[in-house]
Amino acid sequence: MAADALTEPQAEPSFYDIEDSHHHEAGGSTLLGFWIYLMSDALIFATLFATYGVLSSAYAGGPSPREIFELPLVAVNTALLLTSSITYGFAMIAMQEGKLRGTQLWLVVTGLLGIGFVGIELYEFANLIHEGATPQTSAFLSAFFTLVATHGLHVTFGILWLGVMLVQLGQRGLHPENQRRLMCLSMFWHFLDVVWIGVFTFVYLLGVLR
């Protein structure tokens, strides 16, 4: 069967013509595929949120959220991540306008804000562990560290991806493949921001309220 196909003359041009006329369809399927990956990632976060929700009052004699969460720190972190969303948006607009310098500049700003976010989160974790609120202390803290650290790990990988994209942009400029990659990273970055809305509302604000 395969041999037949090879000998047939019309089997020869059976490739997808992505370069000449169908840029958007080639990029489109990647973007949709990446979107579906993000949706599956949302399900991971949903299970972690559900776990946290179930265990959020299982203190096992350990500290309660009100005793350990520092809302000003969380507010700063939220501000950093929110701002990084709009700076990434500006990078995308610069990309749309074909401005390589502008894209790189805004990506660097976004990356720095992301690093600030992860830094503050690590500082918070270090403080908690120093105070004895380790993941081993109670089911509440296990669920808390798992949920928040999974988000933090996503942001860390987003920053790594940003760094890779900066190298790519420096070497090759704004060619269609890089534009497609930047759009995937855009979705990833904004998706993480959406997850963070859930984290600061359901973990921090409702935790302190309880």
Partner: protein, 124 residues
Amino acid sequence: MNDATQHLDDHGDGPGHFTRRGYLIGFLLSVVLTAVPFWLVMTGALHDAQTTAIVIIAFAVVQILVHTVCFLHVNTRGEGGWTLMAYAFTAVIVLIVIAGSLWIMYHLNSNMMPMPSAETSAQP
């Protein structure tokens, strides 16, 4: 710059349709939608934990929608509607997973046979 850049400008139907105005509107809305819940919780302005909880959850839902529309650019036209379809499907599953887990585990907890405290503390 090149034709691919051009195509992003031409086609308003794909995910490549970004405007500075859209991002700014999204950003301003999300700043308000973030600041108000933090302010409510940190100052205790509503004096009632339950009301505050309902209000900040409502703000979170609205903010997630704002981010979805303004930053993630989910609309009925993107990818022929498949982005929105996948998003809606995921939202339903996420709600089922979270609400279902909380509901089941809450009732499981409250319907447990009360155990003598000696036995409880013997549990690992």
